[in-house]
């Protein structure tokens, strides 16, 4: 009997210690999913990617530790990824068929369902900060192109020349597609995404956060798809599709072939499965990506978090740039499956 009580005491102590090490905040980020092939990246490049993901995570986490609110952490963390030429957002945005950088972003606050989004920006250094500003200060949710930039100008945002977004590697990617896959260009058939599939096109950055106050937030920023035409809008800036947050369930940021994510309203679908079908975060995420998305031949992935700080990452491509610092302070970064 004595031994049993001793065991109970030790067991209890272990639980208390585990509780102590558990913080009530966490962060996940992604830098895009795609059919990544290892040989396409030099070891030095891999180190660069990991370094940037790591820096973004650390910066966001230290803000959370100091008591910053979820939407601010999402914005600042995505800003770091936008400022890197590696990822397809902000500075590193890919080129449209017309040789332009057309940037989209969205953010959502899970505590009040407020949200802000922008599409077709060409001169704003950090699209995510404008999305945040719209959410916080305007009566609108979604502003577009010239109008969005006019709003930005009136509110003192930093403008950059289009040269700022020129990254040679991304430019060459456009030239390669414009040259090598003319059929993909000319054939408007929705089925013909194989050429894109073979390359790494689903660049997008995203961040999902639980802060100390129990609030969730999600943000996504992207340059879209290399060689996109006709001012195409993908899922990233669409609330409910590429970006969604709701304290009742989860915060979600997606990356992938945007059209399919729009058709499935992926972000809100993860939420609905949790809220109405009582699936766990991981089960909801896997159900949408591995089953529903795969069934309609869609490609991509998502990062998600619930209000307990559980993290889910799900993708059906060969790789996804990703990383997290969980509620136990454990940090992990990954690229391939």
């Amino acid at each position: 009997m004595k031994r049993f009580f001793l065991f109970l005491l030790v067991f209890n102590q272990l639980i208390v210690m585990a509780q102590k090490n558990k913080q009530n905040f966490a962060i996940v980020i992604h830098g895009g999913a795609g059919n990544l092939v290892k040989k396409n990246y030099s070891p030095e490049e891999i180190v660069e990617y990991e370094k940037t993901l790591s820096f973004a995570l650390d910066s966001g986490y230290s803000m959370l530790k100091k008591g910053a609110k979820a939407t601010d952490v999402v914005t600042m963390t995505i800003q770091i990824l936008e400022d890197s030429p590696l990822f397809n957002a902000g500075k590193g945005s890919v080129f449209s068929n017309e040789g332009r950088n057309e940037m989209d972003a969205a953010i959502m606050d899970g505590s009040n369902l407020k949200c802000g989004a922008v599409t077709n920006l060409q001169h704003i250094k950090n699209p995510i900060t404008l999305a945040n500003y719209i959410m916080t200060n305007s009566q609108f949710v979604f502003l577009n192109g010239e109008g969005a930039e006019k709003y930005a100008k009136e509110n003192g945002f930093e403008f950059v020349d289009t040269d700022y977004f020129f990254v040679e590697k991304k430019w060459n990617e456009l030239l390669r597609i414009r040259d090598s896959s003319k059929t993909q260009l000319d054939n408007e058939n929705r089925g013909d995404i194989n050429d894109i599939d073979k390359q790494d096109k689903y660049g997008t950055v995203g961040c999902v956060v639980l802060d100390q106050f129990g609030n969730l937030a999600a943000g996504t920023s992207t340059g879209g798809i290399t060689n996109k035409k006709y001012n195409r809008i993908g899922d990233s800036p669409l609330i409910g599709a590429g970006t969604y947050a709701n304290n009742e369930t989860c915060a979600v940021s997606c990356t992938g072939h945007g059209e399919d994510f729009i058709r499935l309203v992926v972000g809100h679908e993860v939420h609905a499965l949790m809220k109405y079908k009582h699936f766990s975060l991981q089960r909801s995420s896997d159900f949408v990506i591995q089953k529903e998305l795969t069934e309609i031949n869609g490609r991509g992935g998502l990062i998600a978090m619930d209000q307990k700080g559980n993290i889910a990452i799900s993708f059906n491509t060969t790789g996804m740039f990703r990383g997290y610092i969980n509620k136990y302070g454990e940090k992990k970064i990954g690229i391939l499956k």
Copy 2:
């Protein structure tokens, strides 16, 4: 005993007759919701509205009868509403703060989740036909402004001069707001929608259909909100928010203060309540509009249909231009509550 059997026989016959009169197709339309006040409309105007709604319904219904498919009926019916100067879509689109007509539209096919959407059109006579064309023929879902019009030009669409969209009444509406409610203009606070509330601003047209093949489709077309700024995008062209269709559950088209419909992802929310919570169509629609939308202080309404041809109409404004021909062939048109 004999009397009981006789009763059964008659009862049975009545059921058979009811079944006979039941068609397996139906159509609902709306021409916008708002805090409509009777005294603002002359009896002649009311007749005009009812005549146009009636003509659109009859045209759609006769197509359905002949075996047309849901997406085609939605497109043609909305085209009729777009061509009328009465409703805020196509010809009758309201003016933005800059004095422009900026039109959005979306369509979704419940049988395969394909969809097409456009925003910020200025020269396309029938935005809904372009949305349908994008859904059917392109690899994209959502095209924007100049790019969307370039795509339209390459595919032989009818262009009109911006003069075509000039309707004096709508122009005067803009002048009245620009003059009378300067605070609403200058104050970007999301809470200040009262001035708009008092006028009739939520014009939008929509159509939801069940065809003979058991397929659902939904479409929405709008000129947005009078005096909108910064190329604001509302819920109408956003798949999942203002427009959604899925044969498993329902087809939905919304009208109202778009920002709130985006925050709730209204169309997909109605779907989720039916699919995962097994609510009926009417209960789902009322839950979203009367409870969820009302709780966040949102204003507007929706029309919806399920695969059995049941119809739901729900709005929390004083009125909504609406009409249906149900699966029994019964026709009804309404404006106020």
